[in-house]
């Protein structure tokens, strides 16, 4: 009884997937793809057909074997999800690789910068004024101090490099008189 019920459920699900696939393919065939997505240029059938075919093949195997749901179904389900994600990944990658998407993203970023720049500047001025009132160094002042320390360190490293060069040449006995002085 339980076997018959699960078989019926699986048969029904199989019919639904088949009908859904057919409907999807019919819709794709009728849809004027080039005008619907002129810049993307993707072919949904090409993405979905192999994925659906593989899914259907896996389910057909289960059906023809006539077995009840087994742990293998878990693996098939995982494979199904992997293929589904991979298909979506390819679709998204194609869409994001278009000039239209790049332009759109560039405009979004520019809009963000246009909005955030004055806000950031105003907030910084406000905080600096507050900190100055309290006699506490501002973030900019601390950063400037750290920058000076880094610059001093860089100068020391550069001097060390020069000393190393001179010492190497001294060791090689090739240092000119002017550098010795």
């Amino acid at each position: 009884m339980a076997d018959n019920t699960s078989q019926e459920l699986l048969d029904m699900w199989k019919r639904q997937v088949e009908e859904g696939t057919q409907a999807w393919l019919r819709m794709m065939k009728q849809a004027p793809a080039p005008t619907a997505a002129p810049n993307i240029g993707m072919d949904p059938q090409a993405f979905w057909r192999p994925f659906m075919d593989q899914g259907m093949a896996a389910w057909s195997k289960v059906m023809t074997q006539g077995t009840a749901p087994s742990p293998d179904l878990m693996a098939q389900w995982k494979q199904f999800l992997d293929q589904w994600i991979a298909a979506w990944s390819r679709v998204l990658e194609q869409a994001m690789g278009t000039d239209t998407f790049a332009q759109l993203m560039g405009k979004q970023l520019e809009g963000f910068l246009n909005v955030s720049a004055p806000i950031k500047k105003a907030a910084e001025q406000q905080i600096d004024a507050s900190l100055a009132g309290l006699g506490i160094p501002s973030r900019g002042q601390v950063t400037a101090l750290a920058r000076h320390v880094a610059q001093v360190e860089e100068k020391i490293d550069a001097l060390e490099d020069k000393v190393d060069r001179v010492l190497r040449r001294l060791d090689a006995g090739a240092v000119p008189r002017t550098e010795r002085a």
Partner: protein, 366 residues
């Protein structure tokens, strides 16, 4: 209770012994999945990364040079130059038996790692030119002095490849023995989605840097996540699928920690990186000038190996391979390995496909 469950399952009709065994295995895995999930949520453990012993050789500003000692059966030491910003370098020494550093030291290479460090607002004036003509030569010289060797091999990974290639091409006095580019973009005309998104006319790098000062880690993270929007879904799906396996879980924890720790870019570095490399592709054209020296990749005359990853969407093979065409050596090789950008340097695939190949190529020439 577990036994009762299996006893009940055993009473079910039409169950072959094989099927029963598989169901038993799956039930056990589900129990383990639940156990490990509970541990991850209720009692998350901080993964231990960077297990290989090392010593600091030199430090300048935020950058450090690390030495990983070996038995030194290979005469020429190796200087490893990774990306600046973006991510932390412990990915190269992620965990025991899953570490590029460990593999190379076990093969007898003295391994020197350039750790660029985490730059702050005070370093926003740092440029690519500073990294290539000031920091890198200093670290390379310190590595050479520390090793006592007369020559050194250099390996650039990801952004570290164009940086180190620019360094070795402009410093002929550096005794370079071999050069390796691992997943490092050289011809930015073929650099994939980032190339499109950062193209001139699309991305106003000047406005970006002038407004923000530096490129925050969150922005860097957003850019990389956008490159593969389904990555988080597939990562979590794979985690669920393998959650029963404690080795997988510990590897996941370490890699996940790294994958979510992004680093900011110094502003001027980002400006020059985007403008000169992505937008104007100056490196391969031979138009890049650093500290008054033209970066001419033809000046690389030692043996060269370039390694591309088939599914790399950060540095696709088409932007790695051109290095082979421009260097002035007959001993040059390009190999393309399965996997993506990270799977060249971390993970089981790397330890099987990539690391042994790199080590054997180097050992034969060191």
């Amino acid at each position: 209770m577990k036994d009762e469950l299996f006893t009940m399952m055993g009473d079910m009709p039409a169950m072959s012994p094989e099927l029963l065994a598989r169901m038993r295995e799956e039930a056990t895995r589900n129990l383990l999945r639940m156990k490990h999930f509970g541990e991850m949520v209720m009692n998350p453990k901080e993964p231990k990364v960077g297990p290989t012993p090392r010593q600091e050789i030199f430090r300048t500003n935020k950058s450090r040079l690390w030495r990983y000692e070996s038995r030194r059966t290979v005469r020429t030491p190796l200087l490893f130059v990774p990306n600046l910003g973006i991510s932390r370098p412990y990915i190269f020494d992620l965990m025991p038996k899953g570490s590029f550093v460990e593999h190379m030291t076990q093969q007898g290479f003295d391994f020197y790692l350039v750790d660029w460090g985490v730059f702050g607002e005070e370093d926003n004036g740092l440029t690519v030119e500073d990294a290539v003509t000031k920091i890198l030569p200093r670290l390379a010289r310190k590595a050479l002095e520390s090793s006592g060797a007369s020559e050194m091999s250099v390996l650039g990974y990801c952004m570290g490849a164009p940086l180190s290639a620019s360094f070795v091409a402009t410093h002929p006095e550096f005794p370079l023995k071999n050069y390796i580019d691992m997943a490092g973009p050289i011809d930015f005309a073929h650099v994939g989605l980032f190339g499109k998104w950062l193209a001139p006319g699309v991305f106003d790098v000047d406005k970006y840097v002038d407004t923000l000062g530096s490129i925050p880690a969150e922005m860097v993270k957003m850019g990389f996540k956008l490159l593969k929007p389904t990555m988080d879904v597939s990562t979590n799906l794979n985690l669920w699928w393998n959650l029963w396996n404690p080795d997988y879980v510990s590897g996941f924890n370490a890699l996940n920690k790294w994958a979510n720790e992004y680093l900011p870019f110094p502003g001027e570095f980002f400006r020059q990186w985007v403008r000169d490399f992505y937008q104007q592709n100056k490196l391969i054209k031979g138009e890049l000038v650093m500290a008054g020296r033209r970066v001419d990749l033809r000046e690389i005359r030692c043996p060269v190996l370039a390694v591309g990853a088939k599914e790399d969407n950060i540095a696709p093979p088409a932007c790695v391979k051109p290095l082979i065409d421009v260097v002035s050596t007959r001993d040059k090789e390009y190999i393309e390995l399965p996997g993506g950008h990270i799977s060249l340097i971390a993970g089981r695939g790397a330890s099987v496909h990539c690391w042994p190949k790199v080590a054997s190529w180097l050992a034969a020439r060191s």
